[in-house]
């Protein structure tokens, strides 16, 4: 479908398929991280915690954490691709110069790369959903929509990561990326309900894109359709759009001198 709608962007996506056909094992390893978190925190610490209240009922802790891990898997899949890999291509490979000498333009380039980084997110999310099903952590058939919902997460983090990467000067700058990502992962209503945070702190946490993504996925997994999911989608879409626009503008500055 995308192939016929935006063939040029899709060809950039295809380039990554070529590259990763030989490196698929690397992609596979990325799947284990959320699994270890589920086993270690969800079941390990969850064994001590037991159940927690969610949406007015007591739910097993592992079932509460799992949707958040699914959402962060999508985030990680997208952001590592759109930062490390794109930085490498911008800085060292001359691939983009070659691509831009064909009918492909910077807009196609950005969309193609984002499609790819999103695919990684969707793959991790889908694989993790299968794990959740196997462990009986899925509370509603709506959970099957989760791999679709993570597309919003993937695009927002992919586009934001892409935009930030266009400003990076060296690998050292990536340490600053982790200064943002680690707290984002730990504090975004991932491991405990957002209500735990006192006062203003809570509203800061609510603004985290991962909190929104987690809320979206968690609502689906518990079959709890609510209007705030529309807020989540709008918020993540806005970040995607702004990130994409900025990335394209910066690509123009960097590559079309």
């Amino acid at each position: 479908m995308i192939a016929s709608l935006a063939p040029r962007a899709f060809s950039v996506f295809e380039r990554n398929v070529f590259v990763y056909r030989r490196q698929w094992l690397i992609i596979v390893t990325g799947f284990f991280e959320p699994l270890f978190f589920l086993l270690g925190i969800g079941y390990g610490v969850g064994g001590v915690i037991g159940t927690i209240p969610y949406g007015g009922v007591e739910v097993p802790y592992a079932a509460f954490v799992a949707p958040a891990l699914l959402a962060s898997a999508a985030m990680n899949g997208a952001i590592f691709d759109s930062t490390f890999n794109i930085f490498y291509k911008l800085k060292y490979g001359k691939v983009y110069d070659a691509i831009l000498s064909t009918p492909v333009g910077v807009g196609d380039l950005a969309v193609g790369e984002l499609l790819w980084s999103n695919l990684r997110g969707v793959i991790y999310a889908t694989a993790f959903l299968v794990v959740m099903l196997a462990f009986g952590l899925v509370q509603s058939p709506l959970a099957l929509l989760a791999p679709l919902a993570v597309v919003f997460i993937g695009f927002s983090f992919g586009a934001a990561g892409f935009a930030i990467t266009t400003h990076m000067r060296s690998w050292k700058d990536f340490d600053f990326l982790f200064i943002v990502l680690t707290p984002l992962f730990l504090f975004s209503a991932t491991f405990y309900p957002v209500e735990i945070y006192p006062g203003a702190l809570r509203w800061i946490v609510e603004l985290s894109p991962l909190t929104r993504g987690t809320h979206l996925v968690r609502s689906l997994c518990f079959g709890d359709l609510n209007l705030f999911m529309l807020v989540d989608i709008a918020y993540l879409s806005a970040i995607s759009f702004i990130g994409y626009r900025h990335a394209v503008r910066r690509l123009g500055v960097l590559l079309l001198k």
Partner: protein, 316 residues
């Protein structure tokens, strides 16, 4: 396409008027006019920094021009870059091969960038690998290929969509003489096949050998235009006498130099004298009391044209 020329005149595929590119305060290309006609081999000859690469980038629509007009196939590359690039093949000065892909994959994915069908690409890719003698390396990574092979692959890649114009930015810089001649042969074959070729170079022998027409660029401007023969006839004398003075040429009297030939250029350790007859000029030099360490006589080349027009040599 907006090609409105009368049938008698060869069609211009590229036309530039007052083309200018400014980076910050410095002009990289300063108001140049040129035309590239259908089927010809056209060259930009000039030293490093003359503005050749910048001109090529503007033609490919990856560098917006500062002012002037530029039309490729009658269209403005800043507005129709994508359509234009669909019909041109570009070989960059620096290697831009995809190091994460194999030789053949480099061709396959490029075909996709041009929107070709997979089956058509596969056929064309094998054809090009054969043509550029890369078939036995098809499955190899790009990194370990020799410089000459990489350059051949770059050219093969640029031809995947059978472009009307092939643009090559200093294609033989850094190649050994043998690889260079192999490449020249390949380019001449392509030209005979009907492809219009635009090439930049700072080698005068390359320009002389390959180009039907060329412009000489220096410091962002075009200083001369014509066929290699025309340029030599117009701007250089028939023969050249070179006199070598290892201890420097400053002390030589201007009057003496003026008396030897039609014109002269004084370089650090050489004096180059343009004349009708080199042997005779050498005799005159000795009569005037010059005592060069060595001397030689040769036919004029584009190098002399450049020297005459700018007072400098091409590789300076």
């Amino acid at each position: 396409m907006g090609m409105t020329n009368s049938a008698s005149e060869p069609t211009a595929l590229i036309r530039a008027q007052g083309l200018t590119k400014v980076f910050g305060a410095r002009s990289a290309v300063d108001g140049i006019d040129f035309e590239v006609r259908d089927g010809e081999f056209f060259g930009f000859l000039g030293p490093n920094g003359a503005g050749k690469t910048t001109t090529m980038r503007m033609i490919a629509g990856v560098s917006p021009r500062t002012s002037g007009t530029l039309e490729i196939f009658g269209q403005d590359p800043d507005l129709h870059g994508s359509e234009i690039r669909g019909q041109i093949g570009v070989v960059h000065q620096q290697e831009t091969l995809d190091m994460e892909l194999t030789v053949r994959e480099n061709l396959l994915i490029f075909g996709r960038f041009f929107g070709m069908e997979r089956a058509a690409i596969a056929t064309r890719a094998d054809e090009l690998l054969e043509l550029f003698q890369l078939s036995d390396r098809a499955k190899d990574q790009v990194e370990p290929l020799s410089g000459g092979m990489k350059r051949r692959l770059s050219i093969a890649r640029s031809l995947i969509a059978s472009p009307r114009i092939l643009m090559l930015d200093e294609p033989t810089t850094g190649l050994d003489p043998q690889a260079r001649h192999l490449l020249w042969d390949a380019l001449q074959r392509l030209k005979r096949g009907g492809t219009t070729i635009v090439l930049t170079t700072h080698y005068m022998d390359e320009a002389e050998q390959l180009c039907d027409r060329l412009v000489v660029m220096d410091q962002a401007k075009i200083v001369a235009e014509g066929s290699p023969r025309q340029l030599i006839v117009e701007h250089a004398s028939r023969e050249v006498l070179e006199l070598r003075f290892p201890n420097g040429t400053e002390s030589i009297d201007v009057k003496v130099l003026e008396g030897i030939g039609d014109r002269y250029e004084r370089l650090a350790e050489r004096v180059i004298i343009g004349c009708e007859n080199g042997e005779a000029a050498h005799a005159r030099a000795l009569e005037h009391g010059l005592d060069p360490e060595s001397w030689l006589v040769r036919r004029s080349s584009l190098e002399d044209v450049f020297l005459r027009l700018t007072g400098r040599t091409l590789d300076e």
